[in-house]
Symmetry: C2
Subunit: 733 residues, 2 copies
């Protein structure tokens, strides 16, 4: 990897171009806010300046999967196109030992056959408002970090509540630039979401873990849903037209989606903490869970099916984070980061107007030392059932306080989303929960040591396996009805409950709270410091900055473009027919086995149809399912991956060989028509209709949970950073 010449580590693209040495002079870096698009840069590099109408249409056509992922409206009748791997969470929940929709695919021949997802929430961004001044005004001079954290959180909750009451829209205050800005995002929510069509996993994830993050690729990584309102397909004003002739080499394309998290603002000290402590720990955790799920899957075919969803997510994260860590381990990266930082600090030191900013870097360095101390101290067990028990207990405790003073995920404005998840009737498996709980108890013992009081209390004198078996055998939490009854008991009632999982959470809660408050306080210290770093960056000549990703809607752009690798040229696009060649090259051995549907359709479809392609747009996990659109605003593809070289995007953008990988919409439509008997749906896509735009006033503000693209990793990274388990990754937080 050679980023020495041109990586600018999260400074703006405008600054980057000064040292880029890239052919056109300006790199396509940036995950831009929709209210701060670099129109001038676009015009000068590509001769194209998007109008406000163009931007509004794309924003309103974009969809966020609250479970973690991106998507878009593709018909007036509520069709939503996303990735198969964003949908797979739902496909698993809808599957049983008899019907495996994830493996075998699904097709609704009519709307009556569309199946409701158990707990999906889709968000459509309606507006963005800057509320920085109001949030910062709540933090009086001289408050300690814990006090400041509480005051800031209360102000954010108050703003959200006022907005919800006024508009009826889901309202999230989003922290940008690590604490430099606060914007209020309002969303229309869709919670009646139905499965319409999915191909087989063998086509969507052709090449499996081996091909994941590789290119060239041949994956039909798409799934169609439809949103409903009042029991009928929702009428959608803003949806994307299809352009099967787009995404030609060198074309300018735009990506509108929800990148989950980047850390480009991180200081040198924060990056070192990630490189030497946090990420190696996360990798150990992921490998542990990967082996655990592999071993569980060996116990039988049904266990293999049950393990597969978790296993995919874990392997995906392991490969992604492994790639990031490898990038950080290149000493040149740390040097470049350090020298950029030193230059900025020198500027700050030389300018009396900026003297109040000069302490920020040391504050962040000190915060890393505290994070290191907390690294093994996170309390909580990362299993679904423990999460359920923890939510019930913490909800009872937090509800005793005013909404604004609670842990953020328990505020009133988030309650509907919280309960949708808590009372989801998605299947849970007692053998899987037992295996995972035993492993989590062992992990807790390893993290805190066998003599730790919390560990001893959790184990109750038994080995992890024995204790897990006892907990799983005696808890009632598998039943949604029991959860509701327990949640209705209140704290005193819970204390008297005999449910052993509830009792376990109650015994861990004081230590959970202690660690959580320490972590929240470190977060606040960093927010204040990063606000200063951001101010310094703006002051030192960056007038077109984009903030790190926060699982909120962003606009990226770039060119469709192949690249050089191992001395050869990797072409920008592949074709449907190339999938058969790729299969043959791997002797048609797993995971390179195309499904029967493809074998039967061989010769019936146009093998030269574009299938997958790469572009230089700046994306990351969470962008999965993002529409790729042309200058004309028509859909030409759908993001589903980045190549292995792009995995460093968490910390820096490069475009020498880093590429975003998409399914071409021409390939999607041809496959739907010729392979999947879904021509009626292909015909519906991009089709206009006539109806009334309705801003529903009866929707509530929900909660962004975590990124499907990196589901475990995010929980872990936060745990590794000292955040307790069971705390959802809240992109809006």
């Amino acid at each position: 990897m050679n980023f020495r010449k041109w990586v600018r580590l999260g400074l703006s693209a405008a600054i980057a171009c000064a040292t880029a040495g890239y052919e056109s002079g300006v790199a396509d870096e940036g995950m831009w806010l929709f209210n701060s698009v670099p129109k001038g840069q676009l015009k000068s590099k590509y001769g194209f300046e998007p109008t406000q109408e163009w931007l509004d249409h794309l924003m309103l056509s974009s969809v966020r999967f609250n479970s973690g992922g991106s998507a878009s409206f593709v018909s007036s009748n509520g069709l939503v196109l996303t990735n198969h791997h964003v949908a797979s969470d739902t496909l698993y929940k809808l599957s049983t030992a008899e019907h495996n929709y994830n493996e075998d695919g699904f097709l609704a021949k009519s709307q009556a056959e569309e199946i409701k997802a158990p707990d999906l929430e889709l968000n459509q961004l309606i507006s963005i408002e800057d509320v920085t001044e109001r949030v910062n005004a709540s933090v009086s001079q001289g408050l300690s970090a814990p006090e400041a954290a509480k005051a800031r959180q209360a102000a954010m909750a108050q703003i959200e509540k006022e907005s919800l009451d006024k508009t009826g829209l889901r309202s999230d205050v989003v922290t940008l630039f690590g604490g430099g800005k606060y914007h209020l995002y309002r969303y229309k929510k869709y919670t009646d979401v139905r499965l319409v069509w999915a191909p087989e996993a063998g086509s969507a994830f052709f090449g499996g873990d081996a091909d994941n993050f590789e290119y060239p690729r041949y994956c039909l990584d798409v799934t169609l849903f439809r949103v409903y309102e009042d029991g009928k397909p929702a009428k959608i004003e803003h949806f994307l037209k299809m352009d099967p002739n787009g995404a030609k080499e060198n074309d300018l394309v735009f990506v509108s989606g929800n990148p989950g998290r980047t850390r480009r603002i991180y200081t040198h000290a924060a990056v070192e903490f990630q490189r030497d402590y946090s990420m190696p720990r996360t990798m150990n955790y992921l490998r542990r869970k990967e082996i655990l799920m592999q071993q569980y899957g060996l116990s039988g075919p049904e266990q293999k099916r049950r393990a597969k969803d978790d296993l995919f997510g874990i392997q995906n994260s392991r490969k992604a984070i492994g790639g990031m860590l490898a990038g950080l381990q290149d000493p040149e990266f740390a040097s470049a980061k350090k020298s950029d930082e030193d230059a900025l600090r020198t500027k700050v030191a030389a300018d009396p107007k900026l003297s109040s900013l000069s302490g920020a870097w040391d504050q962040i360095a000190q915060a890393q030392a505290k994070r290191k101390e907390l690294l093994t101290q996170a309390v909580g067990l990362r299993t679904k059932l423990y999460g359920v028990a923890e939510t019930i207990v913490l909800m009872a405790m937090e509800d005793a306080k005013p909404s604004a003073e609670r842990f953020r995920e328990y505020r009133d404005s988030n309650r509907e989303s919280l309960l949708q998840e808590l009372y989801s009737d998605a299947p849970m498996y007692d053998d899987l929960e037992r295996v995972q709980l035993a492993d989590e108890l062992a992990r807790l013992s390893e993290d805190r040591g066998g003599n730790d009081a919390t560990v001893r209390s959790a184990l109750q004198g038994k080995g992890p396996k024995e204790r897990a078996a006892e907990l799983i055998a005696n808890t009632e939490l598998f039943s949604v009805e029991s959860r509701k009854k327990l949640a209705a008991l209140g704290l005193d009632g819970l204390k008297k409950s005999t449910d052993p999982m509830i009792q376990l959470v109650l015994s861990m809660e004081p230590e959970y709270r202690r660690i959580r408050e320490l972590t929240d306080s470190i977060d606040e210290t960093e927010r204040q410091a990063y606000a200063k770093v951001t101010e310094a960056k703006f002051a030192s000549g960056g007038d077109a900055l984009y903030p790190d990703a926060t699982f909120t809607l962003r606009l990226s752009f770039g060119q469709v473009k192949g690249y050089q690798s191992n001395g050869g040229t990797v072409p920008a696009s592949t074709t449907l027919g190339g999938a058969f060649d790729h299969e043959a090259k791997h002797l048609a051995e797993e995971p390179w086995v195309l499904p029967k549907s493809w074998q039967s359709a061989k010769g019936k479809f146009d093998a030269s149809t574009p299938f997958n392609f790469v572009c230089t747009a700046d994306i990351i996990g969470g962008n999965s399912g993002s529409p790729v659109v042309s200058k004309e605003g028509a859909m030409v593809g759908i993001i589903f991956d980045g190549n292995i070289e792009s995995l460093t995007a968490d910390f820096y953008y490069t475009d020498q060989v880093s590429r975003a990988v998409s399914v071409h919409i021409a390939g999607v439509l041809e496959a739907m028509r010729k392979i999947y008997n879904a021509g009626h749906l292909a015909d519906e896509m991009g089709t206009p209709g006539i109806w009334q735009m309705r801003w529903a006033s009866d929707v509530f503000v929900g909660k962004v949970r975590f990124l499907r693209f990196l589901p475990i990793a995010d929980a872990v990274v936060r745990a590794a950073d000292g955040m307790g388990a069971g705390v959802p990754f809240n992109g809006a937080g």
Copy 2:
């Protein structure tokens, strides 16, 4: 796991029986020295007292695989029977992309077809002599730990050299009771070892990683070698007769083999260090390498073949150490250990004659704190090629000193074995070495941090992958001839060499030496302290103690016996026919696919022939391949595994559900005759011959490398304990 009532944590069986509550009153605990067999205990429990002749015959019939494993002579013409998984290291070395002997098996139809193994050394134990007084006399009062370590090492080297000069036999001084006793072991060596017959991996390891450490089992885990002398089959006086009718339920059986390492003498503090620090770290390491090898294997069928040997060893260790760690994580174990220890310390404190022993436990606790500090500091990269470079460099440096003052593995008496390995022409693969080296550079960076001077020097400003590619592309060490040339250069010549691997090792050497000396000093402190603990144990009523395992010959015994599990009875034996049922139960999916040879022979062999069986004998890794013999001294089986419940044997013995797992000799002979066309070899097994016993005077003292049964784990555990990489596990050390 319930060991509360009867586990006595490495105290003698005589003590154990007092609290055992076992039906017969005496547990079958113990890995007994052949010169200290508990004859009285055997007589009182089983009414059988082995004669000296009986013991000598068994000892002389037993064989150690220096590569890690056990075996026995089974014919007068040099046939040696061991496990397929002990042989697999050699089977891989003899395999190519065209001939995969490990997967497909091998049969020599005549002696002319037998294939010489590239670097095997087999040892036959000839005599044992107590040299404790002489070793301890070398350590004068008042020496510091580093000085004492050197003095002790010099005395041991001197004793070995004198013995070698006098007898011509390989002579190893073995540290017993963690430093309480020193015995001189003399071995006859065989280095011309040829492959005779091996079944397919699909039969030897039927059920794969999923069935590993499980029972009931159906594995033909055996392989036949033949030792040669002067180009002819060696004439063997002491070999085992076959008894296909043995190993009936409740039969008393004996196991004669080389258990690799147990840690039953460990104090409470040492066990805590293992539980909370060392073993979790080892597990992270193993999972890391497992995923690495899985991913490498995905890149092609040949890569899959190359990865398989390492992968098997890693998975085996991961499952074994995971089982041990789970045992340690049961809080009851730590409590039992603590209360036994407190009782012993109270006795010591109350007895003025023992006052000099009272500080031992605190010394050991302090040593653990030092080990913890060194845990991430080990220097060296665990790849074959780095090991080659390290050996060449350290040999040049150590050879400047007298033999007795060198690092132990570089002493003169070990040189032949060291060079046999260094100049082995076993295949190395550049792509595999590159992948492993990149991962080891990354691991070093994670362990010591990216800013560490040794890390920065190793990476030379490049990322781990880039640096590994450069090193592998430019080193000459793949060639045995180049190794010899480099080794002949001496230190000054090496410093001028342009080989980048040699230069890398030279740059790491000062830090390697610093850490190695610290570790050797901690080892010495522990040796002195454990000598005191042992003295206290003997003094407090233990007159029949066995020392922890040291990869030297031990005698275990027990009964053939089924056990209770999940409310049902697991029978003591399985049958050849049961393998087909087991295959069908798993839908004949991988890894439950019996090879074609079995399918073709179905109906031709006696399906009721005993195949695998379990007994209560006290074994551990290194015992793989050990003969199981009857009271009559005839072979009834061959150890190949322990069940999952037995994995705690490293730290304590139990016999409630823990069992050693063997292949029944009846199953071996029937399969050889009816499935494998190897009737001529089956006929030869157990057959006497007439010849002259010859104690060769031209053999040299060799080096025990490490246990095949836990090949990576041992290297890792020692690295995790602060021992540098590249230091072989020396059972004789």
